[in-house]
Amino acid sequence: MIPLQYYLLLAGILFAIGAYGIMTLSNGIRLLMCVELMLNAANLNLVAFSTHINDVSGQVFALFSIALAAAEAAVGFAIILMVYRLRTEIDIENVKLLRW
């Protein structure tokens, strides 16, 4: 049995990497991948706690979250695809037409 702390530490590291990526990267696809990292860190937490307290509902919740992430990824990639068709680049620092 691996102690709970290890799972949490792994999830924390994953989340930190994701957050760092979101704040610094400008490539749209990398950004989405970072979002996936953060989501999966949260999923890991859910499953770890669920096993820890012997309640299966946390794992069910993790399944929902995965489905949600899949949908989010589909929408996100679709947007990035359209941005690419429009501007032939996916650098989101340049996608700022709708500001002031």
Partner: protein, 678 residues
């Protein structure tokens, strides 16, 4: 005999149709009148005929069958504010007069307006005018009366300016509206004050209904505003409304200019539907005036002063219609003056005033309609200096005008003789029984008599006798069937109304029942008022029994009338005295009269153009630089703040993400700090 079935109809229950029928006539005339008989006029005339039938039915119910006074009302938009109708001798006398005169004026207008291209609009407006007057007369409360009062004003504005393509007519309409508006604002203020003090008494139903106010006068008379009796202030404010509507000094300036409208409109305004509204208001609110200290003194003085003042102006005007317009102002002054004498005479004053109002309505309508016939016959010339000798060419018109003129100057046995001489006699009784300013009122009224006779017959002699003084006057053409019929009917009443009512006595006895008899309502009964006690509230001691003035007072008006007639005959018929050396622009007295005591100059050139324009200039500067400045400064600050603040929105996703993460982190730190853990 009367059909027995008719006697079972209680017409009082259909009183609202008196108002509604002309309104329906108005709509029909406006929408489809153009496509009907003679291109308009049918609906208006018939609807007023219908109102007339109901009015006379009500009169039959109350006068012959003695079914009692009746009032009904229903709640309106706000609890305590009602719409309602009242049937008592006062409103019946007015209703029967207004419907009769208005019907015949419509009848006459079918002939008179036959050449006009907007006949249906004309008839729609006169129907609305008459309907509004019915509404005003039937109102049992102040607010409804005020609404119809304003509708009457609107209609007069529309009709005076009916020939709007003439600039003078358009200006005259505006002037009528503005002069009345001055009085109406103050009248509305008076109604608001009456509402306030009634609510203060804890009254929640029928707050400003006349009968309810009358019942509560004893409590109301203790109310004060700024140390003055509230009722006196209210009555003065009402009086301002009356001066505007009934052309009292100094708000009468619109009346002469109102002659720019069609003559039938002048007849309607002067006889039936407009200027009588003010007199009616004082008569209707008479107990309030009686309970207010000093209010009736102001009424009496303003009336008597107006009576004399206007008759001096009638002497110099050369416009046929304007002479009669000034005589209207003067006669309204007589009515208002005798109402003021009610401080001593009690409800009899109301009876005398309304009898003169009715008699005046007949002969003034006759005078205007016959002068309308003159205008029709000689091509719209109004200057009596260009007439002369018209009696030969248009005898019907000429003798009709003579009948009206005789009634106006109170020639014996005409309607005016019974109504006006009674007013003057009773003004003397008022003076001898301790009425305030009594002798002054009486002297003003007596002097008015001689001037009235002079200017009326000056107009008649100059227009009808002598040699024609212009080309159109040589061959006038007599009016047609519609106009002739009306002139004959009105002549009969102008000459015979006094005799028909037994010298006015029957009329007065009927009218004197107003206020002192009980009024039935749907839910109960308003008991009759004790006017003696109400008079004491305002410090007015009413006479206990009738008094007779000395013989010389009775014959004085007659002698003065004959004197005035003699002056007019000598100067304008026999031409014994040449007045042309006085009637010159360099005679200062003539100049004052010709310029109408400079009132128009005062109102327009000084008050309107100098004072108000100066105020407006200051206001303009204030508005442009101070008020606009504040608004512009605020908007400038907002814009500048926006210019700076919107830079926060970079549009770059990472910046927003950073902000979110930073924010959530700070939140967690705060939670940990203040709760000591998650």
């Amino acid at each position: 005999m009367m059909d027995p079935n008719l006697t079972t109809i209680d017409f009082r229950l259909y009183a609202h149709w008196i108002v509604l029928l002309p309104m329906i006539g108005f709509l029909l005339e406006l929408l489809i009148g153009k496509y009907t008989w003679r291109k308009g006029g049918m609906f208006a005339t018939l609807s007023i005929l219908g109102s007339m039938i109901i009015s006379y039915g009500c009169l039959y119910n109350v006068y012959v069958q003695e079914l009692g006074f009746w009032e009904y009302s229903w709640d309106w938009f706000y609890p305590g504010i009602v719409a309602g109708f009242t049937i008592d001798p006062l409103s019946l006398a007015m209703l029967c007069m207004v419907s009769f005169i208005s019907f015949f004026i419509h009848f006459y207008a079918i002939g008179y307006m036959s050449h006009d291209c907007a006949k249906n609009v004309y008839f729609a407006e006169t129907a609305l005018f008459t309907g509004s007057m019915f509404g005003l007369v039937l109102s049992n409360n102040l607010l409804q009366l005020f609404i119809f009062w304003e509708m009457v004003g609107v209609c007069s504005y529309l009709l005076i300016g009916f020939w709007w393509h003439k600039p003078e007519a358009a200006a005259a309409g505006k002037k009528a509206w503005m002069s009345c508006a001055v009085g109406d604002c103050l009248f509305l203020l008076g109604i608001a004050m009456m509402y306030t003090i009634m609510v203060k008494q804890g009254i929640t139903t029928e707050i400003i209904s006349f009968n309810n106010i009358f019942q509560n006068l004893e409590h109301l008379s203790h109310e004060t505003i700024f140390g003055m009796s509230a009722l006196t202030i209210i009555c003065i404010l009402f009086m301002c409304g009356v001066l505007g509507k009934s052309a009292g000094f100094p708000l009468h300036v619109w009346i002469p200019d109102a002659m720019e409208g069609p003559t039938t409109v002048s007849a309607l305004i002067h006889a039936a539907t407009m200027v009588t509204a003010g007199v009616y208001l004082i008569a209707r609110a008479f107990p309030i005036f009686l309970a207010a200290p000093n209010a009736l003194m102001i009424v009496a003085f303003m009336g008597a002063f107006t009576a004399l003042y206007a008759s001096t102006l009638g002497l110099v005007v050369n416009d046929l219609k304007r002479i009669f317009a000034y005589s209207t102002i003067s006669q309204l002054g007589y009515m208002i003056a005798i109402l003021g004498c009610g401080a001593v005479l009690g409800v009899a004053a109301v009876a005398y005033a309304i009898f003169h109002l009715v008699a005046h309505a007949f002969f003034k309508a006759l005078l205007f309609l016959s002068s309308g016939s003159v205008l029709h016959g000689i091509g719209n010339i109004r200057d009596i200096k260009e007439m002369g000798g018209l009696l030969k060419g248009m005898p019907w018109t000429g003798y009709a005008m003579l009948a009206g003129a005789l009634a106006l100057i109170a020639f014996p046995f005409t309607a005016g003789y019974y109504s006006k001489d009674r007013i003057i006699e009773d003004a003397y009784i008022y003076a001898t029984n301790g009425g305030d300013l009594g002798y002054m009122v009486w002297i003003f009224l007596v002097l008015g008599v001689i001037l009235t006779a002079t200017y009326t017959f000056r107009a008649w002699y100059l227009a009808m006798t002598g040699e024609p003084r212009s080309y159109p006057a040589i061959r006038p053409h007599e009016c047609g069937f519609w106009m002739k019929t009306t002139l004959v009917v009105l002549s009969v009443f102008a000459l015979g109304l006094g005799i028909m009512t037994g010298g006015g006595v029957k009329f007065w006895h009927f009218l004197e029942e107003t206020f002192v008899h009980e009024t039935q309502t749907a839910s109960g009964v308003y008991p009759g008022l004790d006017l003696h006690e109400i008079g004491l509230l305002g410090g007015n001691t009413l006479m206990q029994h009738g008094a007779h003035p000395p013989q010389w007072v009775i014959y004085l008006p007659l002698l003065l009338m004959i004197a005035g007639l003699a002056i007019a005959t000598t100067v304008y018929y026999k031409n014994r005295i040449d007045v042309s050396k006085y009637v010159k622009k360099d005679n200062p007295l003539y100049q004052i009269l010709w310029n109408k005591y400079y009132l128009d100059y005062l109102f327009k050139d000084i008050i309107a153009e100098k004072i108000i324009m100066t105020v407006f200039t200051f206001w303009d500067v204030l508005d442009r630089y101070v008020i606009d400045g504040v608004v512009n400064l605020l908007s400038w600050i907002t814009i500048q703040a926006g210019q700076v603040g919107r830079k926060l929105q970079t549009g770059v996703v990472q910046n927003y993400a950073t902000a979110v993460i930073f924010g959530v982190s700070m939140l967690m730190i705060l939670v940990i700090m203040f709760r000591g853990g998650l």
